[in-house]
Symmetry: C2
DNA sequence: CCCCCTTCATTGCATATGCAACGAGTTACC
DNA sequence: GGTAACTCGTTGCATATGCAATGAAGGGGG
C-alpha cells in the first residue's frame, strides 16, 4: 500500500481536531463576546463554580490545563476582580482560589449561553447517539491510558 | 436549575477538546520525534502527498489551516528542503508548492507511524462504533454549518 | 535540628498563534 | 484601457503558548 493513499480527511486524529476546534471556537465566541474570557479562564471559572477553595494544581488536574496556563488565567481573573486568591491555611505552598460575587455574576451570564451551544449540538444527536459517543470517547481515552507515549489523562473527578 | 450544577467533565465541547488534544499530542509525538514537524507542517506535507502543485489557498481549504499558518509552515518546509515553491504559471498571485524527493522520504518515515497511531485507536472501536462515530461527527458539523455564528467548514474535498 | 528531596506556583524565554494590514497580481466593468 | 474591487500570499504586531528553571514551602531521615 503506497503512502500516497493516505487520506487526511478520513484520518481520525484530524477529524477529531477539526470538529473539536470548530466546536470550541463556536463556544468561545459566546464567552469572549460576553466577557472577554479565554478558554483557560473559562475553564477555571467553571471549576470554581463547583469548588470553593482550590489550588492551581487542582485546577490543572480537573480542567486539563498545564500549570503556567492555569496560573496566568487565575492572575488575569484576579485582575478583573472575578476571582480571589489567598495563601492556603494549612500549606503555605498552595493558593486558595475562589470566585467573587462579581465572578459569579459573570458566570450567570455565560453558563446559559454555553448550555445553549451544547444543547444545539446535542439536539442533532439521538439519545442513543449521545450515549454511544460517550462510550466511544471513553474507549479512545482508554487506549491512550494504556499507551506510555501518550500524556496521562489529567482529568480527576471531585 | 442553578448554574452551580454545570459539570465541565460532561460538557460536550470540553470532552471533545480534551480527547482531541490528547490524540493530537500522541500523534505529533511521532512526527516531531521523527523529523521535527509541527502540526501545520504535517498537514501540509500530507496534502502534498496527494496533490502535485497546490497553492497556499488550497492548503488552507483542505487542511483546515489559516493563511498565515499555512504560509509559514510552507516557508519552513522549504527551508528544510522538503518542499519546492515556485510561482504558478497562469496566475502570478498563486504559488505552486510541491514535495521534493527528500520530502517524500520524510513522509515515508512518518506515514506508517501515523497509521499505527490511528490503528491503535481504531482497534478499540468496533466497526459499528467507527461508522457511528463518523455519523455523529458529521451530524455535529451539520449543526455548525447551519449556525451563522460558527466558522464555516473549511474542508473541501479534492 | 539540618539537610535533602519533593511539591507548588510563578516567571523567563523562545516560539507559535491570530488577526489585520499590506503589496502584488488579476478580474470586471465602464 | 483604466480604474475599482477582489484574490492571493506574506508580514507586523500583540498576545498566547510550552517548557524548563526558579524560588518558596513541606516532609522525612538521621
Amino acid at each position: 500500500m503506497s503512502i500516497e493513499e493516505f487520506d487526511l480527511l478520513a484520518f481520525l486524529p484530524y477529524r477529531l481536531a477539526v470538529l473539536s476546534e470548530r466546536v470550541s471556537r463556536r463556544l468561545s465566541a459566546e464567552y469572549a463576546r460576553l466577557h472577554g474570557l479565554s478558554v483557560a479562564e473559562w475553564r477555571v471559572m467553571v471549576h470554581l463554580l463547583s469548588f470553593q477553595e482550590v489550588s492551581i494544581r487542582e485546577i490543572c488536574d480537573y480542567a486539563n490545563l498545564d500549570k503556567p496556563k492555569a496560573s496566568r488565567a487565575v492572575a488575569r481573573l484576579e485582575q478583573n476582580g472575578w476571582v480571589r486568591k489567598k495563601s492556603a491555611e494549612g500549606d503555605g505552598r498552595l493558593v486558595a482560589i475562589s470566585l467573587t460575587e462579581e465572578g459569579h455574576k459573570v458566570m450567570e451570564d455565560i453558563i446559559p449561553a454555553a448550555k445553549d451551544v451544547e444543547r444545539n449540538l446535542l439536539e442533532a444527536l439521538s439519545p442513543a447517539d449521545h450515549i454511544h459517543l460517550g462510550e466511544i470517547v471513553e474507549k479512545l481515552h482508554a487506549v491512550l491510558d494504556r499507551d506510555p507515549k501518550a500524556r496521562p489523562r489529567a482529568q480527576k473527578s471531585a
